[in-house]
Symmetry: none
Subunit: 199 residues, 4 copies
Amino acid sequence: MSRNLPLSRDERRQQILDAARRVFARRGYHVASIDDVVKEAEVARGTFYNYFPSKRAVFAVVLEALFEAVASAPEPIRVDGDDIPSQVRANLVRMYRALAEHQDLTRILLAEAVGLDSEADEDLGRFYERALERVERALLAGQSLGLVRAGDARAMASCLLGVIKEPVFQAMLRREPLPVEAVAEEAFALVWTGVLAAR
Amino acid sequence: MSRNLPLSRDERRQQILDAARRVFARRGYHVASIDDVVKEAEVARGTFYNYFPSKRAVFAVVLEALFEAVASAPEPIRVDGDDIPSQVRANLVRMYRALAEHQDLTRILLAEAVGLDSEADEDLGRFYERALERVERALLAGQSLGLVRAGDARAMASCLLGVIKEPVFQAMLRREPLPVEAVAEEAFALVWTGVLAAR
Amino acid sequence: MSRNLPLSRDERRQQILDAARRVFARRGYHVASIDDVVKEAEVARGTFYNYFPSKRAVFAVVLEALFEAVASAPEPIRVDGDDIPSQVRANLVRMYRALAEHQDLTRILLAEAVGLDSEADEDLGRFYERALERVERALLAGQSLGLVRAGDARAMASCLLGVIKEPVFQAMLRREPLPVEAVAEEAFALVWTGVLAAR
Amino acid sequence: MSRNLPLSRDERRQQILDAARRVFARRGYHVASIDDVVKEAEVARGTFYNYFPSKRAVFAVVLEALFEAVASAPEPIRVDGDDIPSQVRANLVRMYRALAEHQDLTRILLAEAVGLDSEADEDLGRFYERALERVERALLAGQSLGLVRAGDARAMASCLLGVIKEPVFQAMLRREPLPVEAVAEEAFALVWTGVLAAR
DNA sequence: AATGAATGAGATTTCATTCAT
DNA sequence: CATGAATGAAATCTCATTCAT
């Protein structure tokens, strides 16, 4: 009935996008319906399709935004800066904090984006590819500096990514808050020295 | 259509269960339809419902079977047995091998079972709880033997779980085979000594 | 698994028929399933079809049995017997008692048998036809004896049938027991003298 | 298929409601399918569910409308108006006419609404309760005026209700038109003076 | 640009009936 | 005869998308 005030195209688009993110986080991609989204955004159903061609498309845009938010958290390691361990530890804290801050995003990223369809899998693949490359480059740099031990940097990167993701995933699964400091500390220690007692 | 000959309840049930597992792995829980399952099993639609009350129910059974298969892979570390590093490495290989053997299972476990509904989340939570406890106990034992460094064993366990899961997840995402030996080697090295070069 | 002892064809048939009557009374024709019936009868599903060609057919037989039970309740009015009012009153009591004794049958007759399909409607039509004819004949006899006032005996019979049915129906609807005596008394008084106070 | 032009919510709703009433009357609640209804209404299947949440729900609305239509037919007896017998006779004619006018409604009310489920039974129970109370009040008034003979007014009301319903039911069962005048006449005579010849 | 009524393919599930054992 | 596994047509209901207003 009552017609929404005209908004700039970008504002309206953002309004729908935000609503979609909240809905996807709350209900999951498959269970969420366009109806849920337009109700959350308080626009008419047709309006949605004026801005996005399909449910799948708006989800892709939501995903892309998440990628950006998480990927921008860590800062490049600088050889000339603080001592390297501190930089690594700080980056881990930054990552965990970014993930903890956006619990809804996390849920989408870890739970909803997987197994959607092959196109979504490719989006996700590209995301992790970028993440892995980044870690891999850091490891390779470390190896060439003699800081990091020899080994398959790619496989190592994959394991390291797991060190970051899993505690977040477990917290999400249990719907508990992520204990950022404790987890960052253990992750750092593991990465740095493994589980062994000092020799 | 030609009618299938009657089969013993157990055989038919298993046939449908296997088909369901393949279909869930290929298409994902939400996208898979009962039609897909009965076509894969080559039975009539009604036959499915003679054995399982719902799509959700058959998925629960599939999931439970996966839990068992994966959880039974590692063997307890024995202090009096082979040297401990070898036992740990062997367990990692066992786990990766179990997961690699059943690529379809892996997809379901890592991607499809997450965020389905609260009941599935609880199943999954219990599964990971068991896994974490197991790792945690091993770590605590190691600590009391002076082998493992001090620290929050729970958080450490969570990170270690990630070390195992992530390479498998990445392989699944890219639909590539898991390089079991290489990954096991890196995972072991990471767990044992971290990423640092020997000091 | 365990196979029922062989029974004579008639006994087995009766066993199924009784079960069907109970089930139809409890659940209603449409909601009742063959599964309900065979479980109630404790026979296999196939056995049912050895005795009755269809769900509809067994229902027809159940109905027929009810017809008999109810139709045999009243006794013919005899001009040479007790005084006629007593005979009429006695018949009303007999009818109400028969209906009250078989609550389940009543439910089927009044609620389930109507609107099933055109074939069932014809069965039901024949039943009421017989009932109406009987009442009509009694009324015509009464008219020729000068006992019953003039009028359309058929329409009168229809109204009288309603006098009998409705209290039973109301009791059924409320799932209350039928107060046989009180209802019979009022029905008799109504039939005999209407609602007017004596002039 | 050519798409129906958008209609106001109320118009479309009414269109579907009317179609549903016709279909329920023709086929019966259980046998009627949503498909029948949407074909009768000439709308798409989804359109039905835009207006009613379920088959059961649209039936409840149909039923409620019938209750209103039938319950509003008789007019209160006024002591200071025409002579009372005329008023009673007129009310009977009004009732029969209302029922005869809407044969479809009648079928639903008398046949389809009974024994559907406990909720429908309660609706029906309330409807008859209102009807019975109305008749009972009239009888009690008549008794206090010395017009109506003594007796259990409630039981009497129940019998009277049967006098009204049964001829309608019989006509419906035979799919014959209701002979309104003849039936009203006999019903009135029965109610007023019973079946006895004048003494 | 915004609206929301209309659409229909397709999903899950039921259950009367058949038939090999 | 008795059994119960197997069947598939058909039912209800969902929801992404279209399009007249």
